[in-house]
Amino acid sequence: MSIQVKGLAKHYGQQKAVDEISFEAKPGKILGFLGPNGAGKSTTMKMLTGYLKPTSGTAKLCGFDTQMDSLEVRRIMGYLPENTPLYTDMYVQEFLLFVANTYQLKDAALRVKETIEKVGLDPEQHKKISMLSKGYRQRVGLAQAIIHQPKVLILDEPTSGLDPNQLTDIRELIKNLGKDKTVILSTHIMQEVEALCDEVIIINKGKIVANATITELKNEHQMTSLEDIFRKLTS
């Protein structure tokens, strides 16, 4: 098990953003994280990265506790935050080299080159990040998450705001990454879940309402469309 979450909760005052959720994820599988806006997806992901401190419960990535062994966790994990914040005053290569250096990678320049090829940033690699279109920014975001070859990849809405061509490219990329890593991604697009994910967790108001493979879900609810299942479970 490369991700183990037990009774994870985050409270903001009275409000329970995440209410004692538990789940596990295996390497080589892509886990889809679904839920309406404000269900607690991003909060859970931030807790998995160790950025937010959980109110109670624990999360472990590859056996490392996200709070106790925070530095270790950050070394083996790649994270693409929501809305893809980037240092827009930097150049693409400069930024990726900076990221590589924060991991103290030995062959940083080579890793930057490889990652740029992998995410298809070649034509834009000499530009400033502020000059890039949304799709290419998203690629830079993905590049900074995978540059150190993490074992666990946490992607918060990696495909929001992309055009159909970019969508296909990015999905293909994530699918390839998922072959040897544990990938968790959150999304609102049901087709994406069907195209990418092996397992699905649906979360509503901070609680897990479904945790199964897509076929299991469809059998259980006697519905063929994931969208209907989603609506049934979260409304």
Binding site: G50, R74, P85, T88, T102
Partner: protein, 242 residues
């Protein structure tokens, strides 16, 4: 940590703001020191830089918050802080990297003022007849004072998302630390704690170092001042809810 430091420094050097603030600092000190008759060394008639070292803290009061105000505030506003926080660097490393990058910028602002020393020593009669000890002491004092203001500025930047607010808070705190305690010690009702207030004042310790005497009490004061404010920054950053 070096990577973060390098990025911070380059991003400061890439922004026009750093050059403008340093330029304004040098322009103001140049004008006041050599041109405006009230404060001019040439009118003053003595070959010494004490007017520069009396003036510099007040210029630092605005220069330094302007340099530090973006360090955390901007990252919070843009949401990029999470990029740093999810790397294998500790909070302390991030704070120190940002602090040192700003410190280097202050050094860049101070280096050109060495020309003043050279000019004054050439103007002295006979040439070179200046109080070198006092000048070296004053520069060390100015660096320590700048380093303390930087710590305040970094702290102010960590508590808000708004750079202007960060600037205003930093200027206010620096002003209180610099001359507020001095002024308070003058209040009649505080006679009993006059010495305590004076020993809390940055100005008091700055003046003491400026005489050219390096007293461990002053060094300890400045170091604990810096550590206190960077520690507060760590508290704010560590207890983040953003």
């Amino acid at each position: 940590m070096y990577a973060v430091f390098k990025r911070e420094l380059f991003s400061l050097l890439n922004s026009l703001m750093a050059y403008i603030t340093i330029g304004v600092f040098l322009l103001a000190s140049g004008l006041l020191l050599w041109f405006f008759p009230d404060t001019s060394i040439l009118e003053y008639g003595y070959a010494e830089l004490s007017s520069f070292f009396n003036l510099a803290p007040f210029l630092f009061l605005f220069l330094i918050p302007a340099i530090t105000m973006r360090s955390f505030a901007e990252e919070r506003r843009e949401g990029t802080y999470i990029l740093l926080a999810t790397r294998p660097v500790t909070d302390w490393q991030i704070i120190l990297a940002k602090y040192l990058a700003c410190f280097v910028l202050v050094l860049f602002a101070l280096i050109p003022t060495l020309i003043y020393c050279y000019s004054v020593s050439k103007l002295a009669l006979p040439a070179g007849n200046i109080d070198t000890g006092a000048i070296i002491g004053s520069y060390i004092g100015l660096l320590l004072l700048g380093a303390s203001f930087l710590a305040v500025g970094i702290f102010a930047s960590s508590i808000t998302k708004n750079q202007v607010v960060a600037f205003a808070i930093a200027v206010f705190l620096c002003f209180i630390a610099y001359s507020g305690f001095d002024a308070m010690s003058q209040i009649f009702g505080f006679r009993a704690i006059e010495n305590i207030l004076l020993s809390l004042s940055v100005n008091e310790h700055y003046q003491s170092i400026s005489r050219g005497v390096l007293d461990t009490r002053d060094l300890v004061y400045f170091l604990s001042f810096i550590i206190a404010f960077l520690g507060l920054t760590k508290l704010v950053i560590g207890g983040r809810k953003w």
